[in-house]
Structure formats: C-alpha cells, structure tokens
Amino acid sequence: MMTRSSRQRRAAVALALAAGMIAASCGGNDPDAVATTAPAVTTAAPDTTAAPDPGTDTTAVVETTAPATTEAPAPQPVAGGSITVGLIGESTGFNPTVDAWADSGHVVAHAIFDSLAAYDASGKPVPYLAESITPNADSTAWTIVLRPGITFHNGEPLNAEAVRANFQAILDSAQFKDQLALVSTMTAVDDLTLEVAMSAPWGTFMNVLTGETGAQAGYMAAPAMLADPNGGRNPIGTGPFVFQEWVPDSQLTVTRNDSYWQTPAWLDSVTFTPIPDSTSRKAAFDAGDIQLYTTGSTKDIGEYLAQQEAGTTNVTLGSASSPDMVLFNTAVAPLDDVRVRRALAMAIDVNRLYEYLEGVGVKEAMHGPYADDSFWFAESNYPDFDPEGATALIDEYVAEKGAVEFEFAGNQDPFLVSYQELFQAMWADIGVSANIVSRAQSENISAVLSGAHQVILWGGIGGGDPDKDYQYFHSGTGLNFSGYTSPTIDAAMEQGRALGDPEARKEQYAIVQQELGEQMPYIFTGTNRLSAIAAGNLLGIDAFTLPDGTPGQPVTGAIYHLKDAWLAQ
C-alpha cells in the first residue's frame, strides 16, 4: 500500500518530470539523475562524467547483485535474438572525432567501434584493439602496436595510418584536441606500429584511448568515414555490430558483425531507442518494450534488486561515477573564508539527503572526491557531520565579518529545489542564510564559467581516475570553477599526470585530497553508481570480456558493452 509520503514523493517526481522535460529532451543528461541522484550531472559539462575508478572492485559489486547461482552450472551463451535498448538521450551523430557523446552515445559507440584500450576489471587501462601500448622510460613517447588482420566494417584495414588519421582528426577538432594535447608527432614505424611522441611526460596517455567519456580519441573509425562529411550518420568501425539504419530521435539499428576479430557477438541485432523521459523509460522496461536501460535512480535500483531475487531482472551496478556535490566559489565572500566552507560541510547530515533521494543503503558518504573504497582514496581532514562545531565556526566568522548569506543555485526541477531546501534548512540551523536560486541549466553553466556563482549544486568532479580532475583542480586550465588554487595542488596534479606507476600517482593525489579536505572548496555529499537494468533473460551485461579472456569493466557510469550479451532461450 502506498503511504501518504510515498504518494507525495511520487507526485513531486511527476511534477519534476514535467518541469524537467525540456532539459531531458535535449538528450544526453539523465533525468533519473536529475530527479534522484546526481544533480551534478545536470549541470556539469557533458564530457566530465567519471572515468572508471581503478580502485573499485567492480567484480565484487557484481557478485553481490547477481542471481544466486551457487548450485546450478553457469548457463552457456547461445547465439540469436534481438533486443531493444532504451537510451537516455539522442546523439548529434556518431563520428567519434566530431560528435561529443554523453553516456548514451558511448553505449551505441561501443557496439559499432572498438577502442585502442579498455579498462580491466580492476579499472586499469589495458590494450584492447591494440596488441600493446607501451611508454618509453619517462613517458614522453608511446608505441602503439596493432593486432594483425583487423578490418573495419567497410573492409579497410586497421593499420598505423588509420590510427594516425583518427588521432589527427581529434587534433583538428576544436572540442576534442585537448584529449591529445600533449601529442607532438606521430610516426608510422611499420604497417601496424605507430610511435607517438609527447611534448611532455604523459603517464596516463592510455586512459584517453579507452573510448569513454572524455576519451573519445580511443575509438577507431574507418578512414573513409572520417573523410565523409556525413560520416557521423553512417558510422563505420571495427566493433561487434555493424551499423544499419538511424532515424534520429527514433531508433538506431545494428546487426552482428560476423567477421568480428574476437568471438562474434551473440545477439543478431540491437535497436537503440532514445526515451528521454525517465518515467517512460522505466515504463517501457516494465512493459517489456525495451530489455535494457540504465538508471541512476536509487529507488528504481532498489526495486529491481528486489526483483532480481525472483530472476525477472538482472541488475549490474556500475563503478562509482562523479559524486553528488556542492561547489563553492572561493573567490567571493563569505565563501572566501575557509571557516565558512568547513562549517557548511559540517552542517550537512547526508542521511537526510539520502532519505529524500530514497538512496538509503545505496548511496555512501564521501570524504573527498573519491569514494572511500576507491584505490585513489586518501585520508584527509575532510569534516564529519558536526552541527555544534559548525555553529561555533559561523559564530566566530559573524563576530569578525558579519552575517553569512549567499545564493545557492540549482536548476528549476521542483524535486531538486526541494533537495536544495534540505541544505537550506540544515544551514539555517547553524545560522547561515542560503537564498535558493533556480535557473535553467544553461544559465547555471554560464554563471559558473563566468565566475558569477556563489554556491551551486554541481558535478562531474571526482569519482574516477584523478587525472580527469586535472582541469578542475589545476590553476592553469580556466576550468577551476571553485577558484581555489595552490602550487602544491598544481605540482601534485602535474606529477600524477606524468608518472606511470599507479602507486606513485596515488601518493601525488593523496596530497591533493589532503589539501582539498583542509580547504573545502567542495562538499561531496554521496556516491553515485548508475546501474544497467536488464530483462531476466538478457544475460552477459555484467561480463565484458577482454581479448585475452580476462574480465573487463562492464558498466562505467551509464556506459556498458553489448559484445557478450545474450538471450537465454
């Protein structure tokens, strides 16, 4: 029986959905995230969601959510069948060197294209389409050796020239060239070997070859497609599925690539259909119209995990993506005072936030930009919930400088406005006045880009490999939205980028986390794990296998692979 509060919450969600239609219909942003888990995603740039987290034990997560199969032998995949996948939004096209993809675009891209590298189960980038990708001693030159005999769907060979053409297209792109910013020269040593020289040491080069968000340089498209102005409407890759047809905003169909360089995919065909409204997407899944979709809604994830017990649904929890967060502009008063920033963090009882988001048991508290179970996590002086301590800090500030008052911005989604009101109430308890400002997403982005913000619900920072946060933490990128800079952080971020050894990099990022925990330019309020929800008879979503037979990382953010998916008969 639905309780009154549950009904009210549902009504609020319905209203939020209606109000969020406009944002949702633009594609790429997840209304689920808007409504329940990641206010951040709605306001962050599309290319800033998390890269995989090397420290996340994804295998363990999958094991905890998989149907009980301890007694029965593992079912063997069978070929055949077709599925329809519900996507969060539509893409502008499918040229990896031209079209900036949100997670939905990457899901389609993983079907059509392969990337030079991919993440293994531990989150470490390993060669995928390439046979090897190796640096020299100081990571100023990398050698990419391709596997022999791989061809694109149009018959063109995948060789060093094809890789160079793809990299060159990225370097020629105003919006993507920073992905390969340190590449200085490319030399085809032989048909299958490309040497890439860097202008500075670049230990994390392989990360940008993984074909994830912010790493589109890794996807390999056929040179003929790159040369075709309409190539994005007729994508040609080396992937497990071959593009057939695309009707924008309606559907995109791919069929199995029987000449695939690995074991061919099991499914005969896949149809991707964008369903921007999260309620409709869930309804489509519940009605059986789609067999797979992703959601960040903790409420829905909990519901489907319960159904998984009955075998009607398969849930694969993804690796931790960018957490929920609040961004301070440390350049303006009163946020320029670290006491105020610490007090605002200490005033937040995250459990109240999780209750509102229906994320109790799914969301986890954060003590920095990386989840506590992340390989990259380091202890810091990040404060715990302490309203008395917060009040004392605010009293001290008020006595010196006067009342603490600021604008607290978010978008116009009523669900999120109520979420902001929770913060507002907790801050009011310590004597702080936060004036909620609701603006369109584009206005919020403009405000942050121009430094006109004070406090805002934000996202896209943290969660994955810390190198992706270079642009946000380093002083010289123009994207340090908090305005907090320090030579210590700059040096550590530069070292973290240059070094190749994960442990050595981790030491550098610990320095960054300790300073962030001390200076508090952000409040990180909870983890985000998007989940792939599959029909009970759709298996293999949790089993992305690498060419050497070892497991890869199946779900990253809202991105997953269909290579090993199959339908039980």
Binding site: A14, L17, A18, M21, I22, A23, A24, S25, C26, G27, A45, P46, D47, G86, E90, T92, G93, V98, A100, A174, Q175, D178, P229, G232, R233, V247, P248, D249, S250, Q251, T273, P274, I275, P276, D277, T279, S280, R281, A283, A284, D286, A287, G288, D289, A440, S442, E443, I445, S446, L449, Q471, L479
Partner: protein
C-alpha cells in the same frame, strides 16, 4: 486569396524576425553548445566567425531569409544536418499525431455536446459538464503517464513508447500513435464539447428549428440536418486555431512517448542555441498555423451559406 497570401508573408516575417531576436537574447552560448566548454578562446572565436555569430542581427536574419526563399533553411549548428531534411523527418510524425488527436477529440466532443444541448441542465448534461471540467483540469502529462501505466504497462495493449512509420503498416502506425493522440485529445474534447453545446443550445431556439419540429422531424434529423451546420462555426474556428497551435505544442507528449516529432526537435534547438534549426521549426509552425486558420475561414463559408453571400456582397 492574394490578400491572405500577403497576410501569411507578413506574419512569417514578423514571427521569424521576432524568434531570431528572442533566441539571441537567451542566456547561454551557441559556441559552447557546439564546441563544449573546454574549447580555447581562439577556437571559439573561429567558430563564431564561421557561424557568423558576431554579425549584426539584421544581417544574419537577411542572410537566413535569402536562403529560406530558395528552400535552403540552412544547416543545424549542432548536428550539421540540413534543417529542411531534419524537419522533413519530423513534421510527418507531428502532423499525424495532431490530426489523429483532433479526430479523437471531435469524435468524443460532438456526441457529448449534442447530448448535453438536447437537455440543458439535466443530470446527463451536468454529468457531462463535470466530466469535461475534469478533462480540462487534468494536465496532459498526467493523462499521458496514466494511459501508459494502464494500457501499456498493465494491460500490454500498446507499446509504451516509440513511433512506427506508416510504411511499416497502417495498423501498427496507428497503434503507436493512439495513446499519445488520446493524451493530447482529452483536453480538446472538453473545449470542443463546451463550445458546440453552447452554440447548439442557441440554435435549438431558432425559428427554423421550431419549424422543423412542427413538421414532425425526428430529433436526430433535426440535429444532423438542421442544427449541426449552423452551430459548427465556433467549433471549426476553435479546431483550426487548436490544430495550428498544437503543431508546435506537442513537446510534452512527444517526450513522454519518445516520438521523433517537431516538438522535441524545437526544444533541442532552443536548449542548444541552434538558431538555424529553431528558425526552420518556427517557419513550419507559423505556416501551419496560418494555413490552418485560412482553411477554417474557408470552411465557414461552406458550413453557412449566409457567410458566403455576405462575402460576395462585400466584394
């Protein structure tokens, strides 16, 4: 007719010029939408130059008009697809959706209006009026979500989302559009029924109706043969306006049912500051609105001969 064409042209110029200026006033930046926020200042400047974004607004508008009169609506900034081609892919879906919703609305509204008008103030009239009020007061998105929950998820009679092109079979096509059309139609049912009921009640009081009754005509014959035509002018006017308005007003339903129509296209264009795509959509909506109102105007003369003769006398 030539006067109407001139009026259409004037409306087109006014609306497209207004939308051009209004979009330029919106916060946000086209270049950011196209290149992302990480593009360098040099690249942003280059893009602005390529897209002529720094040109004076009148010049940009004149350039666009120059292309539009030759059928070239430009290229979408964001998708690089010709706008005319993109509109061609979407307008059919929206027109079919709107047409079907209007047919459903009229099919439900006319009997409701007639039943109410025959016995004004009766329990049936009051019940129908209450039902219409409820239809009018229920937001379309709630109707849509309820229809999906009942007929698609619970009963499984329809697909929850998606559009089947008419080329894949008329039945499948209509089936894919029935729930969204119904969601759009319910609000219109109430409006149409109330307008027609009021006009029918007035008509029933006319001398020629009393004359027909005195001659012993059945109620059905009186309604269909004598009362309906003169009572339909208000309905036809309202339907014409509604039809035209809905061509650009289906975004909620298109989003909920994931239909690849003009509404979603327009909202995408607004959100991404895609001037070219938006201008194309505005032209289609404006032409559609004006043409449908002209059609409604012409129908007045067909419905009521007195209007025809008045127009002839005026000439």
């Amino acid at each position: 007719m030539s006067r109407r064409l001139l009026r259409l042209l004037a409306v087109l110029v006014a609306v497209t010029a207004a939308s051009f200026s209004m979009v330029s006033l919106l916060p946000g930046d086209t270049v950011t939408a196209v290149l992302g926020e990480r593009a360098s200042e040099e690249d942003r400047a280059l893009a602005r130059e390529e897209l002529h974004l720094d040109d004076p607004l009148p010049l940009r508008y004149a350039r666009w008009v120059g292309g539009a009169v030759t059928g070239d609506l430009g290229i979408s900034y964001r998708t690089r697809q010709p706008v005319a081609e993109a509109l061609g892919q979407r307008i059919g879906v929206t027109l079919e959706l709107v047409l079907l919703s209007q047919l459903i609305a009229l099919a439900l509204a006319i009997p409701m209006a007639v039943l109410g008008a025959l016995r004004p103030g009766s329990w049936l009239d009051r019940t129908l009026s209450g039902t219409q009020l409820a239809m009018l007061a229920t937001p379309t998105f709630l109707v849509a979500i309820a229809l999906v929950a009942i007929f698609a998820v619970q009963l499984g009679w329809f697909a929850t989302t998606g559009y089947v092109p008419i080329g894949d079979g008329l039945f499948a096509n209509l089936k894919s559009l029935l729930l969204p059309s119904l969601a759009l139609a319910l609000e219109q049912v109430a409006l149409y029924a109330r307008v027609l009921r009021t006009d029918l009640i007035a008509t029933f009081d006319q001398d020629f109706i009393w004359h027909a009754r005195a001659k012993g005509n059945s109620t059905a014959r009186i309604v269909l043969r004598h009362a309906m035509r003169p009572s339909s002018i208000g309905l036809v006017t309202l339907a014409g306006i509604t039809f035209g308005r809905m061509i650009g007003g289906t975004v909620l339903v298109e989003t909920i049912f994931a239909l690849p129509g003009l509404g979603r296209f327009t909202i995408d264009a607004i959100n991404n500051r895609d001037f070219m795509a938006l201008q194309g959509a505005v032209v289609v909506m404006t032409v559609g609105f004006v043409v449908l109102n002209v059609v409604a105007d012409l129908l007045h003369g067909v419905i009521d001969p007195r209007i025809r003769s008045q127009r002839a006398t005026a000439r």
